[in-house]
C-alpha cells in the first residue's frame, strides 16, 4: 500500500485499471466528495450571478451609478486579504503534509485571522450602508430630497450628513433610484446647470437636522433601496456566509493541531473549499464594484 493511500485509510480494491481515473494512486473518495460539493457550489453562485446578469441588463445605468458609490479601496483590500488567506491556507496544507506542527499552527491561525479581517471590513461596509439614508422631508414650506449618512436619531429629529436638493422640479422623482451623487450634482437653484461629478465632489457635505414630523419618506441603503442593492447584499451576503461557514472547519483543524494531531487529507479538503471561496470573491469584486 502506498504511503499516500495508507495515511488516508483508503484500501483500493484489486481490479483492472480504471480508464477514467489516471494511472497511479486512485483519487481518494474524500477528494472526489469535496470536488463534487464544489461543483454544486459553483452552480449555486452561477444561479445568483445569472439573476444579476439579467437584472443588470435591465437597469445598466442604475447598476453602474450605484456601484460607483461603493468603496473600491475597502473591497480591493478585502480581495488582497482573501488572496493572502489562500496563500496561508495552501501553506497550511503543505505543513500538514510535511508533518510540521508549528508551521501548521502558524498558517492556520493566519488564515483564520484573514477570514475575520474580511468579515470585519465587510461589516464596516454594511454598517455604512445601513446608516446611509435617502429622506424626503419638508423644511419650512418646501420639500427636499436629502441623501446622506445618519449621525444621530432621537425621538424628535434625525441628523444627516450629506446633501439635499429641492423636490418639485422633478415630478414623480423616485427615491429608490436616486443616488447621493444625483442629489449632490443637482443645482440648488433651478436656473443653474447641474454640477459635474467633479464639482459635486468638491461641494462640501452639510449637516441637516430633519424633524421626524416633517419626514414623508425615509429609506436606507438596504436591499429594499433598489435592485442593485438587492443583488449586492444577496451576492456579498451569501459569500460572507460561506466565509463564516469555512471558519468552523478551520477552527476545528486548529484545535486539533494545538492538541498535536494533524490531518493532512482533511486540511487539503478544507483548503479546496477555502480556495473556492476566494475564487468567488475574485469574480464578485469586479462585477459589483468595478464595472
Amino acid at each position: 500500500m502506498s504511503q499516500a493511500t495508507a495515511e488516508q485509510d483508503y484500501l483500493p480494491e484489486d481490479h483492472a485499471p480504471d480508464p477514467v481515473i489516471s494511472h497511479g494512486d486512485p483519487t481518494p473518495p474524500g477528494k472526489v466528495a469535496i470536488w463534487l460539493f464544489l461543483a454544486s457550489e459553483i452552480m449555486f453562485f452561477v444561479a445568483l450571478l445569472g439573476s444579476y446578469i439579467v437584472l443588470r441588463a435591465g437597469s445598466p445605468r442604475l447598476f453602474s451609478a450605484h456601484a460607483a458609490a461603493l468603496s473600491k479601496p475597502l473591497a480591493a483590500t478585502n480581495t488582497v486579504v482573501l488572496i493572502f488567506s489562500s496563500l496561508t491556507m495552501a501553506l497550511s496544507v503543505e505543513a500538514a503534509q510535511q508533518g510540521k506542527r508549528g508551521k501548521l499552527l502558524l498558517f492556520l491561525t493566519l488564515t483564520i485571522l484573514c477570514a475575520l479581517t474580511f468579515m470585519g471590513i465587510k461589516s464596516i461596509e454594511y454598517t455604512d450602508k445601513y446608516f446611509h439614508h435617502t429622506i424626503v422631508a419638508k423644511d419650512g414650506n418646501k420639500f427636499y430630497v436629502y441623501d446622506g449618512h445618519q449621525e444621530e436619531r432621537n425621538g424628535k429629529e434625525v441628523t444627516l450628513l450629506g446633501y439635499r436638493m429641492p423636490l418639485g422640479d422633478q415630478p414623480g422623482m423616485n427615491v429608490h433610484l436616486i443616488s447621493q451623487q444625483d442629489v449632490a450634482t443637482h443645482p440648488n437653484g433651478t436656473d443653474s446647470d447641474a454640477l459635474s461629478p467633479d464639482e459635486a465632489k468638491k461641494r462640501p457635505a452639510e449637516t441637516f437636522k430633519i424633524l421626524l414630523a416633517n419626514i414623508n419618506t425615509d429609506l436606507n441603503y438596504m436591499p429594499s433601496k433598489n435592485i442593485f442593492y438587492s443583488c449586492y447584499f444577496v451576492l456579498t451576503g451569501v459569500h460572507g456566509l460561506h466565509v463564516l461557514a469555512g471558519l468552523i472547519p478551520l477552527t476545528l483543524l486548529l484545535i486539533q493541531a494545538i492538541r498535536g494531531k494533524m490531518f493532512p487529507p482533511h486540511t487539503e479538503y478544507v483548503g479546496l473549499y477555502w480556495h473556492f471561496v476566494d475564487l468567488v470573491w475574485i469574480f464578485l469584486f469586479p462585477l459589483l464594484y468595478l464595472i
Binding site: 502506498s2 445598466p60 493572502f84 495552501a90 423636490l167 414623480g172 475564487l279 475574485i282 469574480f283 464595472i291
Partner: protein, 133 residues
C-alpha cells in the same frame, strides 16, 4: 512495503493496482503565485479606472482578468495541475453549464440593451411626488 515499489519501477503497466510508488509531493511555489495574484488585482483595478467607451469591452476585460486570476488559484492553489481525469470530469459539468447559462442569457440581454441606450429617467411622470413608497 516500499521495497516492492522499486521492483515495478521499469514498466508502469506492470504495476498492480494499489501497489504504487508514493505520491510525489508536487512542489508549487505558493508565494510566487500569491505575488502574481496581487499584481493581477492591481491590473484589475487599473483596468477598471481606465474606462473604455464601449461598456461591453469594460465588462469583458474585467471578466478576463478575473478569469486569469481564477485559473491561477484553481491550477496552483487547488492543485488542479496535478489532479487526475476524474476531477476534471467533475469540474467539466459546472463549467459547461455556466457557459450554457450565460450563452442562453445573451439573447435576453442583447435584446434589452437596444432599449436602454437612453438613461432611464429618475422621474416618474405618473405618480404624485409625495406618494408614499
Amino acid at each position: 512495503m516500499m521495497a516492492s515499489a522499486a521492483h515495478f519501477q521499469d514498466s508502469p503497466l506492470s504495476e498492480p493496482h494499489g501497489v504504487s510508488q508514493p505520491t510525489p509531493r508536487h512542489h508549487v511555489n505558493y508565494l510566487m503565485i500569491f505575488f502574481a495574484l496581487v499584481a493581477l488585482t492591481v491590473v484589475t483595478v487599473m483596468v477598471a479606472l481606465h474606462r473604455f467607451d464601449n461598456e461591453l469591452v469594460n465588462v469583458l476585460l474585467a471578466l478576463l482578468v478575473a478569469s486569469i486570476k481564477a485559473t491561477f488559484v484553481a491550477v496552483y492553489f487547488m492543485h488542479l495541475k496535478f489532479e487526475g481525469k476524474l476531477i476534471y470530469l467533475i469540474l467539466f459539468v459546472p463549467m459547461a453549464l455556466t457557459i450554457a447559462l450565460v450563452a442562453s442569457l445573451v439573447p435576453d440581454i442583447a435584446h434589452g440593451l437596444h432599449h436602454v441606450m437612453a438613461p432611464p429617467p429618475l422621474v416618474r411622470h405618473d405618480a404624485s411626488p409625495l406618494a408614499p413608497y
